[in-house]
Symmetry: C2
């Protein structure tokens, strides 16, 4: 079993109000590079910032790292179009940073990266993969891709109040720029990702297709972006068992999640980490919700019987990432 | 503690007779990519070949992998100028494949990669690093770099008979092409690597300098190439405890090794894996000798009390890499 984190960027995240994945918009490009480092090393290495939301909600990568420290799972970071240096070792599948989806062709690398990721997954020695993503702005591109595939499900947000109107506007502009209409990319997933997506989605979809072809069990760990990757894989013709493992925070935010999972023939696993302490109470308040394979990691924690230890382990990770972010007493009490 | 494998290429390896790191010269470019995969996954992933010498001696990466399976050490691959795709995740420090050292400037990326590697090492969370290399043709470039630094020590070879005359000729041509004379790059290690080296040496040296600056304990796991990296680090002004961990096979081949270690203020650790079974008996016959951090891995195996298990574990790795290369009975007997 191995956890794969696909980390990349889209300029779509720079649109004001789209993403909470960074203390301010100038820093969102660093978030996936930093998330990869946190999962790999438990701390930032080359990244100049530790990702937090504008209100101080810590990155879900800290939870994934905490579960990794509790369970020892192997991790692998695939470069899904990083724009800033990362100290985490990455696998190259030819993905480049994505442009704003309001440009004509935001992800020219989508078809090549999809195929390279598919090939890669067919050769991995694992019998099970848990795949997650970190790409700020990714729910907006996911919304556009779902529409391009002709699927009508909505998407979540890392913000407490989903900026749905803004997303609708951006997605409408994206369709205008691409020359495509909703549904035009049904059964042509590479086209959907190339003209309306971000560089991470085709990589996750390619990995999923390749793994399913090779009889590797796949769990997609995340929310509506991973749901979209599953849609891309199904539109590519991939058959076989596929699960979506997400957090209770995400599931609470997406009432249609069960219907959507059923539509794409996904086993849905929802895990509640029952966070209470500051600053993890931001999750209970509806921030972040998912990301960096958090839902997949929580599923693994539950499977290995350490779910009750995740909050304390996460506070411990956070206390190393930023001692001031965590109340020292909370770490004591929870440990 | 973490093992870092710096994997790269130099066109110097294509000179007939220079390297044994590949069944034939057309395949040597794949060797470091495959070695990285073997250390990471215990099998090849994207690489089309499993590296063996022309006579069938298996890559030292199999031994490093075996020790990893026995001890569970963390590994990290740094891209030191790979020319072929690898399925192993790698860290990018800006190194590009090296040209033939008989060209004027074989490694233009040397200064930048040295600095990026130095920076990277200062930020890693480890308290100890064991650093190795895989770069076919690397002993020839090491010879040239040592001369450029004004150091007179000779180098080893992956071949049973060191092609010393050929190397001398190539190195003489390299100096002609560079416009430098031996000793001209003393105390300017980036210059030595840029005009006479391969892309791996400045990365290993940069990592070493950065780690020593940060108080991280460093062991260089390998032979005369790692000795050369140590020389580069010392010429860069790096002070602090530095060890060279190598195999008995390499030490037997390099009579001046103790003197050289003393000259660069290195603690020398020599470990004998006492290989007897086919095909590992090729090592006792003087092939390969070192590579892919084998000496460093053996040191760790010895420290953790599993040195006696390395031969059986390596045969097990080899039986998975290429079932025909290993006598099934030997695996049974040794296990």
């Amino acid at each position: 079993m191995r956890v794969i984190l696909v980390a990349g960027t889209t300029q779509t995240a720079k649109i004001p109000g789209i993403s909470a994945a960074g203390a301010d918009p100038s820093l969102v490009g660093h978030t996936p590079s930093a998330d990869a480092e946190i999962v790999e090393f438990g701390q930032t290495v080359r990244s100049p910032v530790t990702p937090v939301s504008p209100t101080g909600c810590p990155t879900p990568a800290a939870i994934t790292r905490a579960v990794r420290e509790l369970t020892g799972f192997d991790a692998l970071v695939v470069d899904g179009g990083l724009s800033e240096p990362t100290g985490a070792p990455t696998i190259d599948v030819g993905a480049m940073p994505g442009r704003d989806i309001r440009e004509e062709q935001p992800v020219p690398t989508a078809p090549g990266a999809f195929e390279a990721a598919r090939q890669l997954a067919t050769t991995l020695p694992e019998d099970e993969l848990v795949i997650g993503e970190t790409v700020p702005g990714g729910t907006t591109t996911a919304m556009a891709v779902l529409r391009a595939l002709g699927e009508d499900f909505g998407v979540s947000s890392s913000l407490p109040e989903n900026p749905t109107d803004l997303k609708e506007e951006v997605v409408a502009d994206a369709f205008d720029a691409s020359g495509l209409s909703p549904g035009d990319a049904a059964h042509t997933p590479k086209r959907a990702a190339r003209y309306l997506g971000d560089p991470v989605l085709p990589v996750v979809a390619g990995l999923t297709v390749g793994a399913l072809e090779s009889g590797i069990e796949v769990t997609l760990g995340g929310g509506t972006q991973l749901l979209t990757a599953a849609a891309l894989a199904r539109h590519a013709g991939a058959v076989g068992d596929l699960s979506l493992a997400t957090t209770s925070y995400l599931a609470d935010d997406v009432p249609h999640l069960e219907d959507a999972a059923e539509a794409f023939d996904l086993d849905l696993v929802v895990t509640d980490p029952e966070f209470e302490s500051h600053p993890l109470d931001r999750y209970a308040a509806g921030e972040a919700k998912e990301g960096a394979c958090m839902g997949g990691a929580l599923m693994l924690a539950d499977r290995m019987g350490v779910l009750d230890d995740v909050e304390a382990a996460t506070l411990d990770v956070l206390s190393r990432l930023d001692p001031e972010a965590v109340d020292a007493d909370a770490v004591e009490d929870d440990a």
